[in-house]
Symmetry: C2
Subunit: 471 residues, 2 copies
């Protein structure tokens, strides 16, 4: 067997061999080093994390904070002061003009004569009903069903958009994606067929009696009809009553209206990068919420996740290579003006972004990240899965649409034009409970689980650490 061991090395071969050994040791120890660092980030988040405490203050002391309201101003001040008190280099407010939609004090619906109350809430952006609407109801299974039902059956009626979430879809965000156009565009589309008003089945899998709010918009400024969300229980009740009396009439009364734009702010904090300060990693969530509940999952969780990143970096005792910029975006829910203003500002300054990450999918157990990046970059990031597997946060999905409403405008032309390899990333927590609370009165602090929230902060801390270090 001796001849097997008699290897005849050329100098070149020896160099390659040494290089291989060296690289192997180096890559092994790098994995270990990263593992230790990530372990520290999670330890910090779970043992001394501030995310839950910060969320309590945001939910209980500021409360809900709809764009253009005094509470939204309070949220800006809360965010600014909190960030100011932290270990950061800069904190500033970026002015942004935001829409001001006012819900008013009347939003009710009932089945005429029988006085059966229907639990509704005006959709953000809707016009009011002037006096009131009293009309027959026609049920359609989503926008795609309008044409089948036809103008003859729709004209002069209230359209009930009743396409439900499909319980078979595993990721509930996909169920939402398949239905939400009836909320956003239902009124515009139904108006083309002569409808006089719109009720939209609430965007949730739950059978509950909370109407789930949300935004809508009009494509034709000259043909605006009022639109409201109806609770799933009352959508079903209405269907039941219509089975008995197909010609029943529903009365809708809403006095919501749109007022002139007002000024608000994105709130921004930065830790200056050590070696590449001109290259930015943006991490953010949105500060505004709907005007019900406390905006705890949507998007209090994303706000405190983002702020917590600064604590985790500090506790971990490393200065990032790139500038870490935490952005608390204003007006995601009904306009995304903060997002657009930020993208415009980035473009104006010709800033280079390495990455933008958004947490706007709630505070449940982290599962992974949706990643929008060129294949070569995506493949490098996929290599980090193993490091996040011990934390159960290793679903890395390629995303074509981006990372979230607040960071996607960066992709359009502003940041990508400077860095075509820019990474957009959306944090993915467990989706199963998110739409139970989404845009409803039940989106309160008590429905966020401390440990799950903290694990999310850890996951975001870990991925930002890896991207900052390796790119």
């Amino acid at each position: 067997m001796k001849h097997l061991l008699q290897l005849n090395f050329s100098n070149k071969n020896i160099i390659i061999l040494f290089l291989l050994i060296f690289l192997k040791i180096d890559s092994y120890s790098q994995f270990e080093k990263d593992s230790i660092q990530i372990r520290r980030i999670f330890d910090m988040a779970l043992e001394n994390g501030q995310a839950y405490k910060n969320l309590r203050v945001l939910c209980k002391e500021v409360g809900n904070r709809f764009t253009g309201t005094k509470q939204a101003d309070s949220a800006v001040n809360w965010g600014y002061n909190l960030l100011k008190s932290m270990w950061v280099d800069t904190v500033y407010k970026m002015p942004v003009m935001v829409p001001r939609w006012h819900r008013g004090n009347i939003q009710r619906a009932y089945i005429y004569h029988d006085d059966i109350k229907l639990n509704i809430t005006a959709l953000g952006g809707s016009v009011g009903t002037k006096r009131k609407i009293k009309a027959n109801v026609v049920v359609v299974n989503g926008i795609e069903d309008l044409e089948n039902v036809g103008q003859k059956n729709i004209k002069g009626k209230i359209v009930l958009f009743n396409k439900p979430f499909d319980p078979k879809t595993i990721n509930v965000f996909e169920s939402y994606g398949a239905c939400v156009n009836q909320r956003y565009s239902g009124a515009s589309q139904a108006a083309k067929y002569g409808a006089v008003g719109v009720l939209v089945r609430s965007m949730t899998l739950q059978k509950d009696n909370h109407p789930h709010a949300g935004s809508m918009s009009y494509s034709d400024q000259n043909n605006k009809i009022p639109a409201a969300a109806i609770s799933t229980e009352h959508a079903d009740l209405l269907l039941e009553e219509m089975r008995k009396k197909p010609n029943l009439r529903v009365v809708m009364k809403m006095n919501c209206k749109t007022l002139p734009d007002v000024q608000s702010f994105n709130v921004i904090a930065e830790i200056r990068g050590e070696t590449e300060p001109e290259t930015i990693i943006t991490v953010g969530g949105h500060l505004d919420s709907w005007d019900m509940g406390e905006g705890a999952h949507d998007d209090g969780a994303g706000i405190v996740h983002s702020i917590e990143l600064l604590n985790l970096i500090k506790a971990n005792g490393y200065r990032p290579k790139h500038t870490i910029r935490v952005v608390l975006f204003m007006n995601e829910e009904n306009g995304a003006r903060g997002a657009m203003e930020y993208a415009k500002w980035v473009k104006l300054r010709g800033e280079k972004h390495l990455m933008a990450l958004e947490s706007d999918a709630g505070g449940h157990t982290p599962r992974g990240f949706a990643i929008s990046a060129p294949d070569s970059i995506f493949n490098i990031i996929s290599g980090y899965k193993k490091l996040l597997e011990p934390y159960g946060c290793h679903v890395f999905k390629k995303s074509i649409w981006g990372g979230g409403v607040d960071i996607n405008p960066l992709k359009l032309d502003s940041a990508v034009s400077v860095n075509p390899n820019m990474i957009l990333m959306g944090f993915i927590p467990d989706s199963h409970r998110y739409f139970d609370y989404h845009h409803a009165e039940t989106d309160v602090f008590e429905n966020v689980h401390k440990r799950e929230l903290e694990l999310g902060a850890g996951a975001i801390g870990a991925i930002v650490y890896l991207i900052d270090k390796n790119f």
Copy 2:
């Protein structure tokens, strides 16, 4: 380049090539076929599942069902009648003698003179206090700390076992594993140092005022001291008071006791296998619970998961190759007598088990399975990960300890002696909330999420389908 394409095939090579092509096509279509079947299983569980409805009845109509109580008898009857009403070949009750520990009507503790109440619950198996105990308190950080503290400081005192769950441990079952010996053996160990009673910090990460029950046992039948769980809030309160008055005394009064064994039952249902009926796949959970709350997660979830498997098989319209046996085990919580009786019975009949699977980790979002099997088998099963990845249930962990309390006795000598390749599997759901409710008043139906429960049933249905089909 022509010469590259001029392949010179021998007959043997041609056969191998055809075989490779054939196997590739076959394995591809097999993956597709399995994907479709698994998709159907999940669809059924999510769209027409009975698990949640069954859990409601078990929790709300039967209620909690501690071994040896009338409610445990009701649970046996409920399970038997439900299984009888289903599409199965056989349903029977397997008699088993079970312990009968009676909590009594007195279990209280307070700080003497100050009358500060401490919220406790007797540990299952504990002796009572006869009249009462009034003693100083000494705090130890787990059993391993007893020796440090020493007999001099322990003798004549009540020991507070105060080792908390470590929030940094990602899988909360591991935190439990690191602390639970102080609950199970704390009294026996403390008695050796002359302690007169034991309080054990509740086994939870939550700071709450619910004592979390659980079992204990005595190693020395002649030196039994009473043991109770204390809520985490009141453990901390006691520590706080002891900081002010190190010599305070605590009074404990409990009149719990052990009565003679009584008869109960495992409830068993079978679907006879089509081609290998003599080989068994056992799937089960435990029917008994603690005597507080409703045993919803522990282990109502496992019971309805197991029963749901029969619905999923039926709905999917296939007859399994092997006999599927659903076992509702009795007395997991304080004796595992049902488990031991079942293993004895399997041995007596010389039955061959392909697999035993247990669901006793709650009804939260499924994450994967702990698998105890020879490496060659484990590797085959690991190949199914890709099929379960779309459902987020693809953490396949090698387990050395088995699959769960109720199926592990099969490993000792009964089933493994017949089939050394037997697979033991434990269902792994998300662990983060489980110990919030574990063995406490809060383990009620309302804390189980319908969709998460149904996804668990789907995951179990899918893995049983794959194992049955491929082995």
